[in-house]
Amino acid sequence: MIQNILVILIFLVALGYLVTKYVWKPAFLSGKSNDKSCGSDNCGCH
């Protein structure tokens, strides 16, 4: 019984980590770093 509960907990943590990394962050947080990206002029790298 304890072993089953541990497996469920670990499974949920692993699933949560993957969803945060590949779904949540790219969908909701990626827009915030756009201002740092390099455009086509006057950013010092062209």
Partner: protein, 520 residues
């Protein structure tokens, strides 16, 4: 003369001042705008240019100044490179030679791949056997149950699938660090500029393409020092074709299973030559795609090539060791977290299933007429196989199978391909986890994969045809979400990463399909 009208106005407004001094004051005012300054009163007739126009004028002025300096140097100084007798000049003459430069570079590449395969095989075998022994120890020591099975069949084989490649990745970074530290890499950039120009790239594109052998993400960020936007965009789009370290585990395991361990010309191993060929295919595809993109993309470009040639020096042990440790650590820990999470999810999905077929797997196998005559070991294998087939992952795999079957793969490889979209190195860990579920034996990852049987044709599932098909699929497919995210950030548009994903993966599917159908 640059902008004569502007400078005439400047001269008229400040007749007593030196024109060049005035120009420096104006341009420095642009660059150091936060400094305190006193405004000169009474010059209402003069209005300076906008900041962007001044920047443009400044660039033109710099070019004209250097053209002038070059002209004077040409008339007054002559350099005979051939007469130079110092070590640097002698080495440069050989290492950047039109023919020998490329021959030496190719020989160095060959040495690297030989080292990756031959030298690292001993620590790899040790790690592989060690991981299998740890799994067995956990199974025998901890009390039986779901948690013990998760550790022994899910987590340990999954992580084993990544730590086994530490020696090879360390060798790769060791050589790259030595080449960079010694000053040779800059010569390679110079050497390759001659070739790169013809394909719409810059000599500076070599740096991202070479860094791409470690990881496409820093490599794409390294394109920022390419001045021309078109050359930079092309480099960003083609860099994922170069063989990154995440592809290495996939290549290594498949090559060791399908390419015979033979020597060519008594020295080189056939397996290391195949590995080198895969690297060259990746590099060649990147170059050819760049050529095609150069003709397709309608972006104006102005290009110039400036590179610093450092002196040759003996690589510092501290720097090389730091580089190797840091790069290997970031590979293992970066990939390790993802692999650990995916291994856990996969194990749970493979160890549980909906419906009676999964729950009654044992009874169904025992009810078969031949069951009574089968040895215990074979019976256990059949039960494990039946359970896996009717587990959650089994149903997902079966749904994918029609798409991957024409390439010679079964549903288990299909699952590994889908999960490795997160990161390519997940492929080996996924297969290690799927093949470990229900297995009570102390087996290495390689043995488990070698033991898989093709359900339709019989014989090993990973034979030459399906192995080559899989190698080519991974050589071309865009199997990395993080790279797509970084391309989006660097190009500031979803257009380019989406195009990259569709074109690269579509191309990979077609090439893998053709290879399998031709070789079968």
């Amino acid at each position: 003369m640059i902008a004569p009208e502007y400078f005439d106005r400047l001269r008229t407004a400040f007749p007593k001042q030196d024109l060049y001094k005035l120009w420096l004051v104006i341009t420095q005012d642009v660059n150091f705008g936060k400094l305190d300054r006193n405004e000169i009163q009474g010059i209402s007739s003069f209005k300076t240019e906008s900041k962007s126009n001044l920047k443009r004028l400044q660039q033109k002025e710099t070019i004209v100044r250097y053209q002038f300096i070059n002209g004077v140097l040409k008339e007054t100084m002559s350099i005979d490179h051939l007469a130079a007798k110092d070590l640097r000049s002698r080495l440069d003459r050989i290492l950047t030679h039109k023919i020998w430069g490329y021959v030496i570079f190719l020989a160095i590449l060959l040495l690297i791949f030989q080292a990756i395969y031959d030298w690292s095989s001993y620590p790899m075998d040790l790690i592989d056997e060690g991981t299998a022994a740890v799994g067995e120890w956990v199974r025998n020591t901890l009390p039986p149950g779901a948690f013990t099975s998760l550790i022994a069949e899910g987590i340990i084989p999954g992580l084993g699938g990544i730590i086994i490649f530490i020696p090879q990745i360390a060798f790769l970074f060791l050589f790259i660090s030595i080449l960079e530290e010694s000053g040779y890499m800059s010569r390679v950039v110079f050497l390759m500029d001659r070739i790169m120009r013809r394909f719409g790239l810059s000599g500076k594109s070599v740096v991202p393409l070479v860094s791409g052998t470690a990881c496409a993400i820093p490599a794409i960020m390294a394109t920022r020092n390419i001045e021309s936007w078109k050359e930079r965009l092309i480099t960003i789009l083609v860099t994922p074709f170069t063989t990154c370290s995440a592809r290495l585990p996939v290549y290594l395991i498949i090559i060791s299973l399908v390419i015979p361990d033979q020597k060519v010309l008594y020295i080189f191993s056939l397996q290391s030559l195949v590995l080198m060929l895969l690297y060259l295919i990746g590099f060649g595809t990147a170059i050819l795609s760049a050529w095609a993109l150069d003709r397709m993309l309608k972006i104006k470009k102005r290009t110039f090539f400036v590179i610093e040639m450092p002196n040759y020096k003996l690589p510092l042990f501290k720097n090389v060791a730091y580089n190797v440790i840091e790069k290997t650590k970031s590979f293992v820990f970066g990939a390790g977290k993802i692999i650990l999470a995916i291994s856990i999810v996969l194990w749970v999905l493979a160890s549980n299933g909906p419906g009676d077929n999964f729950r009654n797997a044992e009874a169904n196998v025992m009810a078969q007429p031949e069951a009574s005559s089968l040895p215990q070991e074979e019976l256990e294998k059949r039960i494990a196989s039946q359970k896996l087939e009717y587990s959650y992952i089994g149903y997902v795999g079966k749904a994918i199978e029609p798409v991957v079957r024409p390439l010679g793969y079964d549903w288990k490889i299909g699952i590994a391909i889908v999960s490795s979209f997160a990161a390519r190195e997940v492929f080996v860990g996924t297969l290690a986890t799927i093949y470990s579920v229900g297995s009570d034996e102390e087996e290495t990852i390689k043995n488990r994969m070698a033991g898989e049987v093709n359900p339709i044709l019989g014989g090993p599932l990973l034979n030459l045809a399906s192995g080559i098909s899989l190698l080519l699929f991974y050589a071309f497919a865009m199997q990395c979400m993080s790279t797509l995210a970084i391309v989006k950030r660097e190009t500031n548009s979803w257009k380019w990463p989406v195009l990259q994903l569709v074109i690269m993966s579509g191309f990979a599917y077609v090439v893998a399909l053709v290879a399998y159908q031709l070789l079968i």
